[in-house]
């Protein structure tokens, strides 16, 4: 689209600012404005509070006449987000997208979705079922996932624990990142490499 790049530059300037919105995005690599890494802070008062959630953002050729493609990289326990793949079910990322919306408004909508899940239109049936039938267990699981996967400190602690098993910090971090911070998978790989 003509002028789409000009708009993208403006959008990125706006969304990379360190403001109080709790959402941010920046290009993964310099020179490619169409592949971004975004972060959303877990809204306070929710089971996601204190977590920083990473989201992969891809901007297609027809943007802004087609929605940006977004996917959670950080594992999250939420009825409208796949606990396996991070795929998101949100109307404005699908048919309710409008060219007058922006990457920032989309990220803010994600934050709003974290505040108020819509179990009637689930992406992850198992999570939605738990949300509706056993709210306590849902809250406990979601908090546990936030603690385990979305806390910056939790990552350092995980690296620490893997190091204690006799691996150096660099390879411990690398293996953990590769396995999305699944400790046993990372340790298995490190053991296999010996």
């Amino acid at each position: 689209m003509a002028g789409a790049n000009g708009r993208l530059v403006k959008e990125l300037k706006e969304v990379s600012k360190n403001d109080t919105s709790g959402v941010r995005a920046a290009p993964v690599s310099e020179g490619n404005l169409r592949h971004l890494l975004a972060t959303v802070e877990g809204p306070s008062g929710t089971v996601y509070e204190g977590g920083i959630f990473e989201i992969n953002v891809e901007i297609g050729k027809q943007y802004p006449f087609e929605p940006p493609k977004m996917k959670f990289l950080t594992k999250i326990w939420h009825p409208n987000i796949s606990s396996q793949t991070g795929a998101i079910c949100l109307d404005i990322l699908k048919d309710q997208w409008s060219p007058a919306l922006t990457i920032k408004t989309a990220l803010l909508s994600l934050q709003a979705l974290m505040c108020s899940p819509e179990p009637g239109d689930p992406q992850d049936a198992e999570v939605a079922k738990m949300y509706l039938s056993n709210r306590e267990e849902f809250d406990r699981t979601a908090r546990f996932w936030t603690e385990s996967f979305a806390k910056p400190t939790s990552k350092d602690e995980a690296v620490q624990r893997v190091c204690e098993m006799g691996f150096d910090e660099a390879s411990a971090r690398k293996a953990l990142e590769k396995h999305k911070w699944d400790e046993s998978a990372a340790v298995n790989e490190l053991l296999g490499a010996i």
């Binding site: 689209m1 002028g3 000009g6 027809q62 802004p64 006449f65 409008s98 007058a100």
Partner: protein, 532 residues
């Protein structure tokens, strides 16, 4: 409607006359000749004024053409466009709204002017406007928060005297370049004409009033395509219009009234691609006597059962006597094994002698006999159901193959007639008119195979719960049996080499078969209530 369907209907051909349809609308006659393929032209040129009258009369009786299909017309898109325009004009006049508004209103009432007008007399106009997405367009109220914008929310550039913002009736405004990008994306990438305001969550619809200035000058081909999409919505919503299902064909069948459609039993014939089809369901050939709904269910069932059915069909192509594998390469179901000379019926694999009229009960083969299958467990019931389906499916399939073969033969006969004509000279003229009777026989065979095929679909559903001794079913099967028997016979006669063919036999047999064809159709369509 799914994307794949759209592609099927809207595969844009390079058909030169259809591309600029909306620019010149008075080219009605120009391709009436070019629409015929060379074969058809030749065939027409060959028409023999001295042909025996008996041939032409039974031929016209076999194919319900002139009186019925005459009321259903095939149109080019350019011919139907004025109909849509006129309907918009009428709404414009009656309601005092713009053309664009009229189009949006009609669209939300499946293009039925009557239903729109009825709604206007019963409902609150604001409710109607909101439902059709023309509330702001009709009421003149703008969104107060929208009017003060000085930046285009799509490209995020400030408005300037050289690039002013252009607002929708709702007040949401965008710059000219972004309107063009929006319209290009809508038509080219999303492949549709309908959309709501580019502002998030605004229900006001975008109409030709916004699209035309955005596309007409810069992308005339896409502006054309936009109008095609409008017409497409009209054709698909309208029960009296249907796209020709012929591959790549863009003609539209049009019936003036519902009663005209009924009178033609929904049969349409496309003069552009020579496809005959059912206007009511779009099936690509006439399917009397099966109703559209049953045919749909049948096709779904065949898709589900195709594995089982194919296995059975593939495994029954052996001579029942010597187990030599036999290729069925003609349309006749009377098989003779080349190896052991055993004669048998392709459909039931039974001895052909038991199919003889003289041995009492010729074609027992068309009757499904449930009594032979006992057992009352669920498995037995399931097996019975499958066997019942296979009984009908095998016969349906056999006639479908027979239809293909008859069609191939028809093409060969036509080819032969053309060759003879090309040899010209008076003495061969006698020869090709001699073979006209064969063409007529072949045409009728195609028709009979097709109808027989659908009689099995019909019977599968019509007699599902009929008791074994049902009189209606007996009568139906009697008619079916007669048609089948004489079709087989005609098939056999007409498959002989030309030198061995008995012209009088074929002509007589053709007439008889046509009678049986009309009989079964009439029997079903009269509600199966005739006297024996």
């Amino acid at each position: 409607m799914s994307m794949s369907d759209e592609n099927e209907y809207y595969a844009y051909s390079s058909d030169e006359d259809d591309n600029d349809v909306f620019m010149s609308q008075n080219d009605d006659d120009e391709d009436d000749d070019t629409s015929l393929d060379p074969d058809e032209k030749e065939a027409m040129a060959l028409e023999n004024p001295n042909a025996a009258p008996v041939q032409s009369s039974f031929y016209t009786a076999a194919v319900p053409s002139s009186p019925t299909t005459a009321t259903i017309r095939m149109m080019k898109t350019s011919e139907l466009w004025p109909t849509l325009q006129q309907r918009c004009d009428e709404v414009t006049e009656m309601l005092g709204v713009s053309q664009a508004t009229a189009m949006a209103l009609l669209q939300s009432y499946q293009f039925s002017k009557e239903r729109l007008m009825e709604s206007y007399t019963n409902d609150d106009p604001e409710t109607i406007w909101k439902r059709a997405g023309v509330y702001h367009r009709c009421s003149g109220n703008q969104n107060p928060e929208a009017s003060a914008a000085d930046m285009c929310p799509i490209c995020m550039e400030d408005a300037s005297p050289t690039s002013p913002l252009k607002a929708m009736p709702c007040g949401h405004a965008f710059c000219g370049d972004c309107w063009t990008d929006f319209a290009v994306n809508l038509v080219q990438h999303e492949g549709r004409a309908s959309s709501t305001c580019p502002h998030a969550g605004c229900p006001e619809v975008v109409t030709q009033d916004e699209i035309q200035p955005a596309l007409e000058q810069s992308h005339p081909n896409l502006w054309n395509k936009y109008q095609q999409f409008q017409l497409k919505a009209f054709v698909e919503a309208n029960t009296l219009t249907r796209w020709c299902p012929g591959p790549g064909c863009e003609r539209i069948a049009w019936a003036p009234t519902a009663s005209a459609m009924d009178a033609a039993i929904g049969l349409a014939h496309c003069d552009h691609c020579d496809t005959r089809f059912c206007m009511m369901c779009g099936h690509n050939e006439p399917h009397r006597p099966v109703p559209c709904r049953s045919l749909q269910v049948w096709h779904d069932k065949c898709r589900d059962e195709s594995e089982t059915a194919n296995w059975i069909l593939a495994n029954t192509k052996e001579c029942p006597s010597c187990v030599t594998r036999i290729e069925k390469n003609n349309g006749c179901n009377h098989m003779t094994c080349q190896k052991c000379r055993h004669e048998f019926c392709w459909i039931c694999m039974g001895d052909w002698r038991e199919h003889d009229a003289n041995t009492g009960g010729y074609y027992k083969c068309n009757k499904y006999d449930a009594s032979q299958e006992g057992g009352s467990s669920d498995t037995d019931a399931a097996r019975r159901q499958l066997n019942r389906y296979l009984h009908y499916y095998k016969r349906y399939h056999a006639h479908e193959e027979g239809q293909k073969f008859a069609l191939k033969q028809l093409r060969e006969t036509e080819q032969r007639m053309i060759q003879w004509q090309e040899l010209s000279s008076s003495k061969v003229t006698a020869k090709w008119s001699d073979v006209e009777f064969l063409k007529v026989a072949n045409e009728l065979l195609v028709e009979c195979r097709r109808v027989l095929k659908y009689t099995y679909v019909y019977a599968y559903y019509a007699f599902e719960h009929e008791p074994a001794n049902s009189l209606t079913r007996d009568r139906f099967e009697y008619h079916q049996e007669m048609l089948e028997k004489f079709t087989e016979h005609l098939s056999e006669l007409s498959e002989k080499p030309l030198e061995q063919m008995n012209r009088t036999d074929v002509v007589n047999q053709t007439r008889v078969v046509d009678r049986f064809l009309q009989n079964i159709l009439k029997y079903v369509e009269d509600g199966m209530e005739e006297a024996a």
